[in-house]
Assembly symmetry: C2
Homo-oligomer: 265 residues x 2
């Protein structure tokens, strides 16, 4: 049956896929996979191929963009085709066009969701989900971080937390670290002086969400700027107004200094 199924791989490694996702692989005629929208540090392709007993073809961003997904569309006009995407297939909007094109070509599409970094980070943090405002990406220092700074400011004004995704560049395997991201935002602070990212601002860095041993550290910016978060991937949260249960969670799960308790009543 001709069909294009977008399957989320979830986080970190091949065990991040759901049973539902694995079933789709087992019954697929052709399987493609990309790893450029986010990285899966401990992913073992051969092992996933063994689990589903199928061959999986890697597809690069360049190939996909140059040929507008032609290979995938061709396969899906012939038989059941699965496109494996890290995290959830459509949290990044990268593949929306491919899905629209498939439907325009009369190929039915389906989504089998995967775990997204978006919900995993919120879950790990112990912060309240409904208190997150707009999400933002902090760019590499070559680009001015005005936008993320402004988003953090806007969210704070409303008492809301900001989840900052940190930029990555895939071909070079380059990651913006939490320390760099903070410095980048401090540079904007020096210009704007709105007291959004000062030495005494509270932040929470998260490394390797989805791994069995993620690193979380909540502290004042001055202490985070040199903190060693180990290997990527990274993200960063700037909390807005904190409920005392959120403070408790930051102390219990993110080694926040007990001082945090006195700051919030």
């Amino acid at each position: 049956m001709k069909e294009l199924v977008f399957v989320g791989l979830g986080l970190n490694d091949e065990y991040g896929i759901t049973l539902k996702g694995l079933e789709e692989l087992k019954t697929a005629d052709t399987i493609f996979m990309e790893t450029y929208t986010s990285r899966m540090p401990d992913f073992n392709l051969q092992h996933l191929e063994e689990l589903c007993n199928k061959k999986i073809q890697f597809i690069t961003r360049q190939t996909l963009e140059e040929e507008n997904g032609k290979q995938i569309l061709q396969a899906s006009r012939i038989g059941k085709t699965v496109f494996l995407v890290p995290g959830d297939p459509f949290i990044a909007t990268t593949h929306v066009t491919l899905r629209i094109d498939a439907q325009k070509n009369g190929v039915p599409t389906r989504i089998v969701h995967g775990i997204s970094i978006m919900s995993a980070i919120v879950s790990l943090s112990g912060l309240h989900n409904y208190k997150f405002g707009k999400t933002v990406t902090v760019p590499f220092p070559e680009t001015l971080a005005q936008t993320p700074y402004n988003v953090i400011a806007q969210n704070k004004k409303l008492g809301l937390h900001t989840l900052c995704l940190l930029d990555l560049r895939e071909p070079e395997n380059r990651y913006l670290t939490i320390n760099q991201a903070i410095k980048t935002l401090q540079n904007v602070e020096q210009q704007k002086q709105q007291n959004i990212v000062t030495q005494d601002t509270i932040a929470l860095g998260v490394a390797r969400a989805g791994n069995s041993q993620p690193i979380l550290k909540a502290d004042f910016v001055k202490n985070l700027v040199d903190f060693d978060f180990g290997m990527p991937p990274y993200s960063l949260i700037f909390p807005g107004d904190l409920h005392f249960m959120e403070v408790e969670a930051l102390i219990a799960f993110a080694s926040a200094p007990v001082e945090f308790k006195r700051l919030f009543k």
Copy 2:
């Protein structure tokens, strides 16, 4: 080894769990499960027990609250204990206290994430993730929906989308429908008259996210108020400013009227 592992069940049925989550079940000494923070319409307990070859004990909200998680804490002081939670274990904050209590009792805790409705809905909608503002829950009509109305208004002012979770009451198995949620918000509109939820406001209803056949319908409020979304669970999105690719996605995946195209340039 004494340990408390919170494992997310993901959405809809037992196939929503990750391979990682299933491995945790296979090696657990005791397994508890709750189904009151959200419903899994097609969940088959016996099948999951077969998959992991273990017994799973249901725990009700009442039991958990009355005894402050005593059963779970006791089991986790003796051996590896898994607590199964629909979606992701900590997107609802319900179980944060239990995790803090375990750590205070010297029991190490871990999270194995599950797919959350939060990311699944965004993914299904084709709307841009970074354009979502604060999330809100629409209550049953007995309660005035001032807060959700105000949140939608605030997000719209900033050009942001609002994801509305719709209330559910577990013991009675009662769900707020998309139609009811819209009417509830229209009642607030009548009082406040801020043009936030009028007849000509655009909205997107989603039923059964995580199921292989979710229902999505984007339309003007006047057409959604009687639309039949079938069985629960339900959610509702009020878009803010739309990019043309988002409009394309709403037309392709959520049967939005082609008229939408003329509304956004």
